[in-house]
């Protein structure tokens, strides 16, 4: 997994609530058997019309806005468990997603792929949108070690929460499987002593 430490970038603002994984990557694009290439269809039906032409009014088709940070309305990533949503976001080039609320499964999937989901209060989210809509060059600085996100233009900052284990995974580029595999003997012992043999 890719390591994550610190990032300063402009942002792509998407002030829409309840963005579900069917918007992030519609089901008809889930047919690939590898993890690569999903970025082409990120937000497919918002980005392109039915003939495949870019929709001018969608933010990702507006050259004014670009960057490695996606900022979206609350309850981002609700819906299906498809990890393809996290893959699509990463493949497109986002390293961080900021929202005031994330759906559980999406959040886990993002963390498992080195994409950092940052939950900020509603008011701070508004401040980010205000800064970006006032000046699209506005940058944010995300520091994972310090657990801070800073709006560079105003200096406003927020200290975000992250599970300490997940934080160290991101910083070191480790994944959960490496960790669990180091406990195989304990798993086998658990299987040996647990009384519920009827489950197998």
């Amino acid at each position: 997994m890719k390591k994550f430490e610190k990032l300063t970038s402009t942002v792509v603002p998407l002030p829409i609530e309840n963005i579900d994984t069917d918007q992030i990557i519609p089901a008809r694009f889930l047919k690939a058997t590898t993890r690569e290439g999903f970025g082409d269809n990120l937000f497919r039906d918002w980005r392109y019309d039915s003939d495949g032409n870019p929709k001018a009014d969608f933010v990702m088709n507006n050259p004014t806005y670009n960057g490695k940070i996606l900022v979206a309305g609350k309850n981002f990533g609700c819906g299906s468990s498809r990890e393809h949503a996290a893959w699509a976001i990463q493949d497109y080039g986002f390293d961080v997603v900021i929202s005031s609320f994330f759906a559980d499964i999406f959040k886990g999937n993002a963390l498992n792929n080195g994409v950092l989901p940052i939950t900020v209060p509603d008011e701070f989210l508004e401040k980010i949108f205000d800064a970006v809509f006032a000046d699209h060059h506005s940058e944010l600085t995300v520091n994972l070690e310090a657990q801070t996100v800073i709006i560079n233009a105003t200096g406003a900052s927020f200290e975000f929460e992250i599970n300490p284990y997940k934080k160290s995974c991101l910083i070191n580029g480790y994944d959960d499987i490496d960790y669990i595999l180091s406990h195989t003997a304990e798993i086998e012992e658990f299987e040996r002593i647990r009384p519920f043999s009827f489950y197998r």
Binding site: I16, S81, E83, F198
Partner: protein
């Protein structure tokens, strides 16, 4: 201090608990399908490791499969490739596959329970958010991403934070024509689509207790639609009677041992929940959704809430949803014409759902302009429907009984609702484009869907039975 049902099952599966780390949680049963598993199998190959406990893994093909002419090769190339890849992977890694053509094939959350694989007290996962369905048996069951599918393949365990717990009680008697789907759509309309995030929800109360196993599965199935990872219901005699005698249920002495354990699976009187919500069953009407998330639901005779009644920050998203659906503030949906009716999905494709639909449509005909697709949840449901003559009732009504799969629930296979068309659907999500690009989905119960198919417009089932 007593323990909640979730805590009892969770604690019985913790392999290792270490300060500062999520729990290593043992997984009894891993269900897989063609869409979220190929990259996980690939991961094993890259690491050069096998599936750790292949006998605790079961596979089926459901998301991508056509629901007509399943005996023929899959037409669409990418779908065929993905389904073939599942077959190849299962063979290589020694995983049991109930693929196309197998008498056990079907939607993963329908076949688990009907084969007796789903049992009280188990931990179960699948790369599919509707894995919460299996919680109806008093199991901890939840959806996972593909990296986690690979984790379970590699170790039969998952790294998981112990979730917070919520109890939702529904007490009282349901009105005629109101069922499990209406209960859960009502609950989500109250909690919103995010209200359960971070929680495992235990559904309780007399109205829940009175539901059949099929009804309980419908309720737990949609707990993810309020954001909850899982939903579950304490097992009782209804549960034990359903499981008993099924193919993979414990037998003989094992059954007795299992039963005496399962009878301990309930939340203790004094068990603390983080949140408790209570609802009165008498307040629940037949429900329908009007927007683009499952929290946007109303009683069938209610008006669509006005945009100005929403918190100011949420108005743009709310208006976007109504515009997409072609609905207006304060509009009532009764009498609104529909183009398609879809009865199926892991929410409502079990034999009881088909029986409810058949009992309503017997002797009636569908409206001329409506296309009706009925998709059984499994080969076994399909066979049972035929044995009971339900297929004939559907045929006479002008409905098409198709073959098992996820079908028009998710716009991935051939079954898609055309752009701009209205579909009353018994599935679980009304997201933009969920049933096909620009399709407009209204979620409802099988009975409401059946009545809509006959009337050709949204109707109140209570006035027809």
């Amino acid at each position: 201090m007593g323990k909640t049902l979730v805590e009892k099952i969770w604690d019985a599966h913790v392999v290792k608990r270490q300060e500062g780390f999520p729990d290593i949680l043992y997984i009894d049963t891993h269900l897989i399908h063609e869409v979220t598993s190929p990259q996980a199998f690939d991961g094993l190959r890259k690491r050069g490791i096998p599936v750790f406990r292949p006998s605790q893994t079961v596979a089926t093909a459901d998301h991508n499969v056509p629901t007509l002419n399943q005996h023929l090769p899959i037409q669409e190339e990418l779908s065929r490739y993905q389904v073939d890849m599942l077959t190849k992977n299962c063979k290589e890694f020694g995983v049991e596959l109930y693929g196309l053509g197998h008498p056990y094939q079907g939607i993963v959350h329908v076949i688990g329970p009907e084969l007796g694989i789903t049992q009280p007290g188990k931990t179960m996962v699948c790369g599919d958010s509707h894995t919460s369905t299996h919680g109806a048996f008093g199991a901890i069951a939840f959806g996972i991403g593909t990296s986690q599918v690979e984790q379970v393949f590699a170790t039969q365990c998952l790294l998981q934070q112990k979730p917070k717990t919520m109890k939702i009680e529904v007490n009282g008697e349901l009105a005629k024509g109101v069922g499990a789907k209406d209960i859960v759509l009502y609950i989500i309309s109250k909690t919103t689509a995010a209200g359960g995030t971070g929680y495992f929800v235990e559904f309780a109360g007399s109205a829940i207790r009175s539901l059949s196993m099929e009804g309980r599965m419908t309720v737990c199935n949609m707990s993810i639609e309020m954001g909850a990872r899982g939903g579950l219901i304490a097992p009782d005699q209804t549960t034990f009677d359903y499981v008993h005698g099924r193919e993979f249920a414990p037998k003989g002495e094992d059954w007795d041992k299992a039963l005496s354990y399962w009878q301990t699976l309930y939340s203790d009187e004094d068990a603390p929940f983080d949140v408790v919500l209570e609802f009165d069953a008498a307040d629940i009407q037949p429900m329908i959704t009007y927007g683009t998330n499952p929290g946007m639901g109303i009683g069938i005779s209610d008006a669509i809430p006005a945009t100005t009644d929403q918190p100011e920050s949420e108005r743009p998203s709310y208006k976007k949803a109504l515009d997409y659906m072609g609905f207006r503030d304060n509009e009532t949906l009764l009498g609104h014409p529909v183009d398609y009716v879809f009865i199926g999905s892991c929410t409502n494709s079990r034999i009881e759902d088909l029986r409810a639909v058949a009992s309503f449509v017997q002797g009636k005909k569908k409206a001329d302009h409506v296309e009706v697709w009925i998709v059984p949840g499994s080969k076994q449901v399909e066979a049972q429907a035929k044995e009971e003559g339900i297929d004939k009732i559907f045929e006479e009504a002008g409905f098409v009984l198709r073959e098992p799969g996820c079908s028009a629930c998710l716009g991935m296979n051939e079954d898609k609702i055309p752009a701009g068309k209205y579909c009353v659907s018994t599935s679980n999500r009304n997201f933009e484009g969920r049933q096909g690009p620009n399709a407009r989905t209204m979620l409802a119960s099988p009975l409401t869907a059946a009545a809509t198919a006959v009337s050709g417009k949204i109707v109140d089932i209570r006035e027809l039975i």
